[in-house]
Symmetry: C2
Subunit: 292 residues, 2 copies
Amino acid sequence: MAATVEEISVNRQFGGYNRRYKHRSTVLGCDMTFTVYFPPVAENGKVPVLYYLSGLTCTDENFIQKAGAQRQAAARGIALVAPDTSPRGLGVEGEAESWDFGVGAGFYLNATQEKWRAWRMYDYIVEELPALLRSAPVFASLDPSRASLCGHSMGGHGALVIGLRNPQSYRSLSAFAPICNPCNAPWGVKAFTGYLGEDRDTWRQYDACELLRDRSASSSSASLPPLLVDSGSADKFLETQLQPGALRAAAEAAGWSGATLRMQDGYDHSYFFISTFIDDHINFHADRLLAQ
Amino acid sequence: MAATVEEISVNRQFGGYNRRYKHRSTVLGCDMTFTVYFPPVAENGKVPVLYYLSGLTCTDENFIQKAGAQRQAAARGIALVAPDTSPRGLGVEGEAESWDFGVGAGFYLNATQEKWRAWRMYDYIVEELPALLRSAPVFASLDPSRASLCGHSMGGHGALVIGLRNPQSYRSLSAFAPICNPCNAPWGVKAFTGYLGEDRDTWRQYDACELLRDRSASSSSASLPPLLVDSGSADKFLETQLQPGALRAAAEAAGWSGATLRMQDGYDHSYFFISTFIDDHINFHADRLLAQ
């Protein structure tokens, strides 16, 4: 049966269109929403795809409404795909008690604990959503074989982990204020304990720094996509939750020559920070996505 | 006593700062919030001011978070001042029953009906807020003697009416999807009846088209500031509430040679529309605000 999606809103912007969709997710077992920005040139041919993974408490709408990414995406001719951050509406007991666990806090992993078995955002982002973009006729103007990943905070963690584990699937990776080493950060420890259980060895596959350490240990020579990371020096989560220094050390140890890690003076964790540097990220990805 | 304001949040963006303030409004009799975006060059000297008046249901935050105006304001070196849309917290019976009347729906007028006597957003925008910007030390880098007005929907109506009644105070005016002829639009009739009473003659001072008709009748030769208006052809409120054709006819009849009224194909009433054309508006105002 062909994948079906329902368009639930459309808004023109910068000559293209933001289209918000609802579909039934087989992986998650619930209805999910996501938004695609189609640049103007999508009317005349296929355009590559930049996925944007949002942070804690966000839906598919925050980035689309606040980051100002569509201006440069229109100029460069790339599509933006903004999924939601967790399953919703399943009614799991306690799913909405915390802002950093459950609804709005999927952490882009596949849960192994029975209670949270529906939390499989890793498979949703890596497999189900790209398959939907390839198969549904409304996405005929997208070329998901040319894809890149960007994300913010928890979504920056998601972009790093998914990109490191599937380097052949993404041409470039970027993140704003990512949670770099969740095994050693309060948000990550809470999420991983709840979704994955107490065995910390199972956590490492969802931690960018640990994945890079594994590469160092195995002397892997497989190439990694280029990476751009911006963090803000006034981000109140910088040292406790985000730890960009840990990513820098792990990337250097792994010999990730294409990794550019920047610290932006005076910027915080908000979309005001993201909007300031989103053009840099769009251009970073577009240069790779549009290369022959 | 010097005017006092309390800074309640600050976020760096595009090298400048969004600073949100709270102050006690004498005119309205309640605490009010507003946000100022200071461009980077405000650290080195005085910058002119562009006021942005928001639409129904909005606070001072929608424009600041969604329009993407700070990028070009930073590039041109002008400050953005985004006030709230009505008094809040007064507890007037029924003030929150409608989304288009009472809280969030001040309509930039001075109410004459006893129950709504606190609704004096006209005086707040024309007098109290500029006086605060002139007097409070935290605004020393602003030059409110160089000011322009922009607004959206109800705020577009506000920008037009305030600019037409105080042409010497503003160097330029612009609006997105303004309510052009509120005396003949359902939103306007509801608001004016409630705030101003049944005598329609008292409504005309708050209607851009009626003010322009008065100019035509009096053969006024006083000059009007240049005006830029964008409306969207897919705006569901276009014909019933906004009526850009009425403004066009009134502006032509009044000989307003500096008025540019544009219709943007396929755009709606949302901030996606505003963000697409905000650079045009920033540049339109900056060209006048920065002229010697």
